[in-house]
Symmetry: C2
């Protein structure tokens, strides 16, 4: 077709990129489906590598596609141009990706952990051998956040990047918003396949932390160790917290947030109170959302499906299309950065106590000792006195001061559990 | 700096792109500020061309930048690599852009009208002479919709693209939502500089129509004449319509919408009822929003500042950064397409009548003649009987049938104005 040729001069006459999928699970099979159904110009699926490949072999894949368990043979093969790594985790994925890049192949991956921990090293390896490394699927799946930042907002510089980066937590919290408690909603998320049997990666914030560290490098140009980002679990959030949050015109979401404040770089992941009028409160179910704040362009919101086979596969195939069309990433210089844990923000602190006189007075005294001002005290009626949840909100205070105060408050005998402390986002 | 060099191999050692700004108004001066403050690698502002340039000359621009009124001399100059066209309108902008592209220069433009009417021709011209044409700022200003679709969603195919593409209309309608009438809000928009003295381009939908036609080509691969897109003005929307919309759990926004339905391509611009739970209802003030619906990836929402000097300039400078880094657009084949005006959707019809017995019966009869089913009749109390607004909503019906019915209804003597007919979006 002459029109096609004239519209894509960079692939004209050249051979298509030969693609090996490493991993034929949910995302891998979706990527194969899109490649076979849409037949994007300049791309050809040639290999599928998976353990126990006999079980995986799909009858809708053309017979000229090679199915194999021999990952190393594919990596060594001169008949493969791009390895699509969808196995996840640091190993053996890391070894495969390094080997592919070292032989001049390009790599497309959805592996947030590998990129969060070794992205810089791998990008250098790719550049040194003439290949490319693309990982648009590693953050927020089918939402084009990485290309949006790299290509579309390349002319801005960012003060802040924040968002809802873990669909499992968003499913749990947006469901709890309707009145349910944590445990049954987690069980439902597990039954639906949204949460693992061991949900720690999601609910403790480690998954979101890895994604945030990638966004920090791309948007804030800050290279950080993901483990330096403070995380708080969502496990202690209870239905009652949504009731109190609503009284404060807020809801609760797991937020991943990084910003430059007064020359310092702050980054945290955990449940936070989000004003109902903030775009972050719009996100329901397993959706993801990213909000960037540009020095010149202000806030930009990206939202959509952050996980799932088809949306994640769209990001993978989009990276492949970029490779086929010779559209390169815009790589910008980043620099190692240290994260401060010292913020000055308002907090919501929920106590669960065996009630007796003088509790609020004692807590208020301990907060005052650290020069922390109370903003509101909220106590809903009709709870048993021996298991009474109440909330104190405090005006913006330094993290270290609040931590010291909470350490003292934590010694009070009336407490049935350590206080739940959540940052309140300001809109 | 060796790090910088290794991270941007494509500009290493090469000379920076020399940039001529054509137009030094709000966007042009913002673009100059960003270029001078951020000093993006590989870009150098060398010329500013504007009529009456003596008035425009800014003391914060370095003295080696050439200020001139001689557009043609700049176009002929071998010392310019990229022309940034910010004059707007079809002419003389079109002549400048053609001349720049014909001499092998690249062009970055925010000119939606020029791209909507002549984009295909200009892209061919760019390709033929080895230059590039980028227009990320032409739709939704600082929101990276075009790069998001081209790069980040290149692996999907789209069933629908819709959004709020005109900040002026969004300012007016989201302000009217709070109870104000059209005329004073338009006056406020004009006083704030959001609306022109003659607001027709915005309120009649012509601006949004041009932007929609660009999105249709990029997302739906459909080449259409913008004038083939049916537009309806927002001028007849009144405060009372927001009251009735609220009763239907909706608000009203100027929506630009194109989709493929049953093999047909539909496209319309105008005020529509938007469910309050739709992302399209979130957009307030002058913000823009675009929602794409991908066959594989589902809905993706982009939102932010669609206009204004700095946000639009971010899109312009981002295009320039893409050029400097050799990151090319992904151009996909599109084909001429015909737009159907025949949809099957529910409607909101608001009447303003001098009340008398039998009006509803007559209207219902005329709708029934066209086999159109009523869904609800809404009439708020306390309006004067000689100027009574009431609403009929109808179930999904064919546009042609409703048009015939409304033509008959329009002959009724009791009507004080022609009925206001708005599509109700389904969520």
């Amino acid at each position: 077709m002459p029109e096609n040729e004239s519209l894509s001069p960079r692939t004209k006459g050249s051979n298509p990129l030969r693609i090996a999928l490493f991993g034929f699970g949910t995302v891998g099979s979706s990527a194969a489906r899109i490649l076979l159904e849409s037949q994007p110009e300049g791309l050809k699926l040639t290999h599928v590598a998976n353990r126990g490949v006999a079980r995986k072999k799909a009858d809708w894949v053309p017979s000229d596609v090679v199915w194999t368990e021999e990952f190393d043979a594919v990596l060594d093969s001169p008949d493969v141009d791009v390895v699509v790594e969808l196995a996840g985790g640091l190993e053996p994925a890391g070894t495969w990706v390094r080997k592919a890049l070292a032989t001049g192949k390009s790599v497309v991956t959805a592996n947030k952990k590998l990129i969060a921990y070794h992205g810089i090293e791998l990008e250098k390896l790719a550049a040194a051998h003439g290949g490319h490394l693309l990982y648009g699927a590693a953050v927020a799946g089918g939402i084009p956040v990485i290309p949006g930042i790299e290509h579309g907002l390349a002319g801005d510089r960012f003060d802040r990047v924040e968002g809802i980066l873990n669909g499992t937590c968003n499913f749990i919290l947006s469901k709890m918003e309707q009145g349910a408690e944590y445990a049954p909603v987690l069980a439902e998320a597990q039954a639906r396949g949204y949460a693992e049997a061991n949900p720690s990666e999601d609910v403790d914030g480690f998954d979101a932390r890895a994604k945030l560290s990638i966004l920090m490098r791309l948007a804030l140009k800050a290279e950080v160790n993901p483990e330096a980002i403070e995380t708080r679990p969502i496990t202690q959030v209870a239905a009652i917290d949504f009731g109190y949050a609503k009284d404060l015109n807020c809801t609760i979401r797991q937020i991943a947030r990084a910003e430059r404040v007064d020359g310092h770089l702050a980054a945290t992941v955990g449940p936070m109170l989000v004003p109902l009028q903030s775009p972050l409160a719009w996100s329901k179910g397993t959706e993801n959302m990213v909000m960037t704040t540009g020095h010149y362009g202000g806030e930009v919101v990206f939202s959509g499906h952050g996980a799932g086979g088809h949306p994640t596969a769209v990001a993978v195939v989009s990276d492949l299309v970029n490779l086929a069309h010779g559209s390169k990433r815009i790589e910008v210089a980043s620099a190692p950065a240290t994260i401060t844990t010292e913020l000055e923000v308002p907090h919501y602190i929920r106590f669960l106590v065996n009630d007796r006189p003088g509790i609020v007075a004692r807590i208020a005294t301990l907060l005052a000792t650290e020069k922390i001002n109370l903003n509101a005290i909220l106590q809903k009626p009709n709870f048993p006195l021996d298991r009474l949840p109440f909330v104190i909100t405090v005006e913006p205070c330094r993290t270290s001061a609040l931590r010291r105060a909470l350490a003292e408050i934590g010694k009070m005998e009336c407490l049935l559990e350590l206080p739940l402390d959540m940052q309140i986002l300001e809109k």
